[in-house]
């Protein structure tokens, strides 16, 4: 397995093969630099441009033809694509990356002249009683099953939470024959006040997208219930019922065989934080984002970030931000090249940022004060909200003390599911987050034991 650590070198490493990483890698390779693109998954594309398996694509068609074309261009441009490879550590301002083969555990060390983190995001979950029951899943899980595997997550599905993402998930569920028992949106985004719509009118394409989804849902008789939320899920070995709370205080119980709940996305910032780059709280006040200039350069010289890991803004912004970071890296490493005008890209990035800010205003997060004490917050270590509040209330525990006292955030997911909740429950007003430490992704024990020469 991992008895010899493979060493390699490149001009630029791009971590993450989603929209930001693919667009960046393409610009960098066409600019004449050697590029290694690393992704933990076995296929490029990330979450948005994810690939249907060949056998399923042959029968059901290509899920995202634009992603397929982008990946083809990236490969044709000579980018070295290392899929099935996770980056679990880094040092020297990101110029040394530690990797592991997902299938064999084989360790590697990659030396670079500049590094771009395009590590994307994962879904934001908020705990409620019963959320650890089998059959309670994220909307992303339901979307993956419906689009990649062509399997409905249930025959009767309740979809809830907040954010524009719930709409395409609902449509994908309908397409594979699931019945949507209820579509529950916490906020009131679909009859927005005039003041917020002003920002949206500058992005008519994005609005048209949402309108198309709403039309499809209406055709299937699915109504978005705004201002409602999931209070609790019930079941013995798996979820069978869910309580929905309405604004007037009434509660209704629905039978269901799958419950999907999500509250947008959390940026995956472990790598830039591990390397010590300066951060600031995101607009929701629950995450620490890397501080970047207009092109994605961080406070760590030679380390760039692009895409949702630099702040949730969606696929179009990720592509533009990836290109901007790539041009900045080209100016740095290949200064002899004729300069490329990036003013247009920067303008587009700013417009897309305004749209993201509008989404933040339309879909605000609920207060963590509402989470009942008995609710499990840390799924891995089975720690309740009450235990976390109690540990924080002693007065001498900050977030890290609370983690040490309760073990919340110490399980295999490394706080990716609960970190923002623990921080909110233990916090003293300012956004804190768990420290990023190596390994930033789970490694098989064999990799660390046999690869003695890791450090």
């Amino acid at each position: 397995m991992a008895d010899v650590m493979a060493e390699s070198e490149t001009d630029v490493a791009v971590i993450g093969g989603g929209p930001a990483g693919l667009h960046a890698a393409l610009v960098l390779a066409r600019g004449g630099l050697s590029v290694v693109l690393l992704d933990e998954s076995d296929t490029l594309g990330g979450q948005y441009y994810k690939r249907r398996a060949e056998q399923l694509a042959a029968a059901f068609g290509d899920f995202r033809p634009r992603g397929t074309e982008l990946i083809r261009q990236v490969r044709a441009a000579g980018v070295v694509c290392r899929t099935g490879t996770l980056v679990w550590g880094a040092e020297d301002a990101g110029r040394t990356l530690f990797t592991s083969d997902v299938h064999t555990g084989a360790l590697g060390r990659l030396s670079t002249r500049a590094t771009l983190a395009a590590t994307g995001a994962y879904e934001r979950s908020l705990p409620f009683p019963g959320w650890t029951l089998p059959g309670v899943v994220t909307p992303g899980f339901a979307l993956h099953l419906a689009t990649m595997d062509r399997v409905p997550v249930g025959s009767r599905v309740v979809l809830a939470g907040t954010g524009p993402f719930l709409l395409p998930v609902a449509c994908a569920l309908l397409e594979v024959g699931a019945r949507i028992e209820a579509l529950i949106e916490l906020n009131h985004p679909y009859r927005p006040r005039a003041s917020v719509i002003g920002g949206a009118l500058r992005q008519p394409a994005r609005l048209a997208e949402a309108a198309r989804y709403l039309l499809t849902l209406a055709r299937h008789g699915v109504r978005v219930e705004q201002g409602s939320r999931v209070l609790a899920a019930y079941g013995d070995t798996q979820v069978t019922a869910v309580d929905i709370g309405h604004e007037d205080g009434s509660v209704r119980r629905l039978e269901t065989d799958a419950l999907c709940v999500g509250f947008g996305f959390r940026p995956s910032t472990e790598l830039p934080r591990l390397l010590g780059c300066r951060t600031e709280p995101d607009p929701t006040g629950t995450e620490q984002l890397p501080v970047v200039d207009a092109d994605g350069a961080t406070s760590v010289d030679g380390l760039y970030v692009a895409g949702d890991c630099a702040g949730i803004a969606g696929v179009h912004a990720a592509g533009v931000r990836g290109q901007l970071a790539a041009h900045a890296i080209l100016r740095r490493l290949a200064p002899g090249r004729a300069p490329v005008r990036v003013a247009g890209l920067r303008r587009r990035a700013r417009a897309l940022d305004r749209f993201a800010a509008l989404a933040d205003r339309l879909y605000p997060m609920p207060a963590t004060a509402d989470i009942p004490d008995a609710t499990q917050v840390c799924r891995c270590e089975s720690v309740s909200a009450g235990e976390i509040r109690q540990a924080a209330a002693t007065g001498w525990n900050d977030l890290h003390g609370t983690k040490a006292a309760t073990r919340a955030g110490m399980g295999p997911c490394q706080g990716r599911e609960c970190g923002h909740i623990v921080a909110a429950l233990a916090g003293r007003g300012e956004a804190e987050c768990f420290a990023a430490r190596m390994p930033i992704r789970p490694l098989p024990m064999a990799a660390t034991v046999e690869g003695q020469d890791v450090r």
């Binding site: 068609g61 899943v137 595997d149």
Partner: protein, 97 residues
């Protein structure tokens, strides 16, 4: 796009019971199709857990695949003859709860 023939099917066994899946499907898809949601028990409180995030983050969907324990079923794909084992039997000891 082309949508004529259905994908080829493969046979997997889930806890010893044969089950059909389409080649290229995720292992979680095969489990969900077979109606199997609980996959393991949380080692701390002993309660049943099933797949949650679907993208390799939460590690709740770990099963044993062809004898390899701790395999994420959401990121693994089915192969013909694959042996899938869940771990829902009660734990001999739980830390608390």
């Amino acid at each position: 796009m082309s949508t004529s023939p259905l994908p080829e099917t493969v046979t997997v066994t889930i806890d010893g019971i044969p089950s059909q899946a389409w080649a290229g499907q995720s292992v979680t898809a095969a489990l969900v199709t077979a109606g199997i949601w609980p996959l393991r028990r949380n080692p701390v409180d002993g309660r049943l857990r099933g797949p949650f995030c679907g993208m390799g983050v939460c590690l709740e969907c770990e099963v044993t695949l062809n004898g390899r324990p701790g395999s994420r079923s959401c990121t693994a794909h089915v192969t013909d003859g694959m042996d899938i084992r869940t771990h829902t039997e009660p734990l001999p000891t739980v830390a608390h709860g």
